[in-house]
Symmetry: C2
Subunit: 582 residues, 2 copies
């Protein structure tokens, strides 16, 4: 599928995030400035359009094949992986000491967005390498780090995360995989896992599985879960490959989308010969997962942005080509001239742009946090992450539907390629924590747990920024609506969201509407933020800024009202819920 990196947005938003998050003042980031970012993005854009995008449809059509316990990836996958690894893209934001390039996250973010737009199914291994490496760096023994990290950072081996079991999905506390301690300090692993992305494939010689399991005397529930590294082939002290480690792929899923990404069922220790090593402390496995989880949620939200962008590009391209109907002068016109088609395109464009800005700010804020350990910044990232993950992916699904709608009957025909976007997008609101789980995390752990402190700071900031647009003719309506929505939310904090009188069940029943309102407010905030930032810059690209203004005004009229509607639902938490008998 055709894809061109939205270079102008990326340059602009990267530079803005860098400056606004104060990364120019971070010593550790010296040299890692937007100029470097631009150079990296330029190379990445070529690779994304030239190598990855052309394989996106191939992967969808062919899918992966499961044969005699092995997985055969689609044509071209192996070669693309080789090139991807050799070009150093896997270790882009991983430590230099293990062969990575050590780039900050704010630069990795636009680069990752390109991979995700160009070929989401292919590049699923990338977030696993990134998150898995961070787990190993943070928790694994020196010996494990030395043997594994250099291979993972360079892409010689891949990482797989083995969490889910048939009866333990969102509820990992229910998992049953056994880990029996051995005299030599290792563990015999035995159990069945499902939904393991790239759990088996033909791209590399070895695969390091990070497996959640229980030792025999572990406490029940989530407090008795430990993390183990379990390679497909055993790894000797010098890092060379040893014997087969009794890690068997028993099948791959036949999925709605992401056909090119193998989703594996794995059986560990069928022959009692599967050996794992503990990563971190016993029974602290879920803590290690939290490291991965934040990484994964940011990456998953970015998938929403990336699919929104891909769909937008395809929809605009088609809407400019396809002639249908006529204008008021009776001339046949391209469908992009029809106001309702334009509406759909601008819905996609404005929300994708705003969410891109939000995602880049979060990434830059993580870079800033790593340098400063600033608690306020940390809390801000923690607050925004579930919003970004859930809202960006929910909207990507809506947008993917709109792309098909713009294509009309042609969109329903698989050869056009856009139905793939709809199919691929469908999993993004489910994996790495469903929308419902993100919403519960947001409301209970990020808002109620600190008595709304982090949220109040954010709302104040949104309100102050909106106020600066109060006398701007084109923006005053949106500024007023933003402030009104923020004020409604503030009063709901007292009356409902933070109230001890509201029962948790009723609140849970409006947690997704609450998250939706936050998502929309964040988009409005980001659009205002870009406009405000441009005023401080000497270099203007007038046509571009005119478009950002139009997107902002459009968003204020077409999407912002939905935030108020969602809050109206929050106000009526629990209505009808317990009265209905299923």
């Amino acid at each position: 599928m055709n894809y061109q990196a939205p270079y102008k947005d990326m340059q602009w938003l990267v530079a803005q995030a860098y400056q606004q998050q104060g990364l120019n003042n971070v010593d550790a980031l010296e040299g890692f400035d937007p100029e470097l970012a631009n150079a990296v993005m330029e190379e990445a854009a070529k690779f994304a359009s030239g190598v990855l995008a052309p394989l996106n449809g191939v992967g969808d059509t062919q899918g992966c094949r499961f044969q005699n316990g092995t997985v055969i990836t689609p044509d071209g996958w192996k070669d693309a992986y080789q090139q991807f690894a050799e070009s150093g893209w896997i270790g882009l934001a991983l430590p230099e000491e293990y062969g990575g390039q050590g780039l900050p996250k704010y630069i990795a973010q636009p680069v990752n967005e390109m991979w995700l737009s160009a070929n989401l199914a292919f590049v699923m291994f990338q977030a696993l390498a990134q998150g898995g490496s961070e787990i190993l760096q943070a928790f694994a023994s020196e010996s494990i780090q030395q043997r594994y990290l250099p291979k993972i950072v360079t892409g010689e081996w891949t990482i797989a995360m083995a969490l889910t079991e048939p009866n333990a999905g969102s509820d990992l506390g229910a998992l049953n995989t056994k880990a029996i301690p051995q005299a030599d300090g290792t563990y015999k692993i035995k159990g069945q896992k499902i939904y393991i992305t790239y759990g088996e494939h033909d791209l590399t010689d070895n695969i390091a599985h990070l497996v959640l399991g229980r030792t025999p005397d572990a406490p029940a529930g989530s407090r008795g879960i430990s993390l183990f590294i379990v390679p497909k082939y055993q790894v000797a002290d010098d890092g060379s490959l040893g014997e087969f480690n009794d890690v068997r792929c028993t099948g791959i899923e036949h999925k709605l989308g992401l056909h090119g990404s193998p989703t594996c069922s794995i059986s560990y220790g069928d022959d009692d010969a599967c050996v794992g090593e503990l990563v971190g402390e016993l029974n602290q496995g879920l803590m290690a997962m939290f490291v991965l989880m934040n990484e994964a949620r940011l990456s998953c939200g970015l998938q929403g942005v990336a699919l929104g962008e891909l769909g937008f590009q395809r929809a605009v391209e088609y809407a400019k080509e396809r002639t249908q109907g006529s204008n008021e002068q009776g001339e046949r016109v391209a469908i992009i001239e029809h106001a309702d088609v334009k509406r759909m395109l601008l819905e996609m464009r404005s929300e994708t742009f705003a969410l891109r800005a939000l995602g880049y700010q979060i990434a830059a804020q993580i870079d800033a946090t790593e340098a400063s350990h600033d608690a306020l910044k940390k809390n801000r990232v923690a607050l925004l992450t579930p919003i970004f993950k859930a809202f960006a992916t929910e909207r990507a699904n809506v947008m993917a539907g709109q792309v098909v709608q713009v294509f009309g009957g042609m969109g329903f025909v698989e050869e056009t390629g856009v139905a793939q976007i709809l199919r691929d997008a469908r999993i993004t609101t489910i994996y790495e924590g469903t929308t419902g789980i993100q919403a519960r995390d947001l409301l209970f752990r990020k808002v109620r747990a600190d008595q709304g402190a982090a949220l109040t700071l954010l709302l104040d900031e949104m309100c102050d920024l909106a106020t600066t647009f109060a006398s701007d003719d084109a923006m005053s309506a949106m500024a007023k609506d933003t402030r009104q929505t923020v004020n409604t939310l503030r009063s709901l904090l007292n009356s409902h969201l933070l109230s001890e009188e509201c029962d948790p069940t009723s609140l849970n029943a409006v947690s997704v509407p609450f998250l939706e309102a936050m998502g929309i407010l964040c988009c409005a905030w980001q659009l205002f933020n870009v406009l405000a930032y441009t005023k401080t810059q000497s270099h203007h690209d007038d046509a571009y800024m005119q478009n950002v203004k139009a997107l902002t005004a459009f968003y204020g009229a077409y999407r912002l009202p939905a935030a108020m509607a969602a809050l109206k639902t929050v106000e009526q938490a629990g209505a009808g819920l317990s009265q209905y008998e299923f």
Copy 2:
């Protein structure tokens, strides 16, 4: 896929529509009362669950195959078709003089809903038979009627509608198929058509194509389009089959969904031997299409209801079985106990219920109109039809997404079967006129054309009904919000929707939000209407009515606010639209 007809809803809503539309006073409907409806529904329910539903997944998995110009339908299709036709279901609402059962639409509506839930792909031929027969009855010559209608009504032959060409989709005025008059009064047909549902198949001996084309001296555009009946095999005067009529299937589409329904490309007259007969007057082809279009839009909206119901049933079933997470007492619970899952189920249930009620009322109103030719009732049907078509199908897409969401990772795996609902639903907002086209029809032809007269009557009725709930504690908030929304809409009529000062482009850009607001208001109105109706009835099913009350309260809190948000967008018609440069 499992499916049980929602019998209680159907009985209740059928009886209500019958009474409220005054069908008991229509002489022509004597004997066709709700008691008969119940008997018919009972039989249909058995057929839907027993014969059609089990083939739904088969059709999806196998799809249709194109071989040497013929189309092979999935296993079991042929036998099911035979049974379907022999049981008289095709002619259910078609005239008795041609072998049909002549039932009114209000009875056909729930029966059709069952077919559409049980196996949408299979039963696509049914709306074609119904709509096609009505066209022939209204416009065709006596001779065509005698030769074709008995075969179609009994299902011996099927009907195909050949409208679309590669460059003429929504814009039929652009079509190019030629019709050359012959000395004997027939026409030689020559052209290529695409997207023809059941345009070729192995279910019957003959297929009657209704083809839109142009005679050589026809005016350009939509005023030069005529309708022809073009059989696959020629039909002699006595109705017996003659020679092959040069109607060739050149391929079938590989679609996102509806795999069991062949979507054909047909080439007419490759060998200059394709003969058609004119149906209706020359150049009046689009007028004949309008007959079909209304039928098709009602049927298509009902597809939305049917898919919503199917998805809801699957989601509830799974949510009751699937254990995940625990309640406040720490006990493992089925996911239906989680408030956010309940929220999704109630969104599906409340909107499907309300839209079912709306659809049944429209069908009963058509029956009433046919008897009385009451202009007010006719205008009401004309006003509601595009709302029902577009809103029910848009919501079916949202609901299908929610079904997958309830299933979590399992929903993304094709074997579970629910991804099929999402794939099948995707075309419903496109065919029979896209949502954008319905919205334009609503705003320009149904609202602006009569200066808002029909709409104002509807809004008055909504407002009056809501007022009767003003002092009902459980409903007063919803009653107030409904009235407030209606009043906002009333003032928007003057300021925007009917205003001569608003340019059509800006209005078109908010036509879909306007339609969305109308859709939600119609649902609230229907829910109130059911509650009000029960008060007039002596037989109460308390548990059922308790559920309807809960659904109504839920809808008021969770969905009604979105109507106000949509109107807030209407108020800002055109914002940002013309300023953005693509």
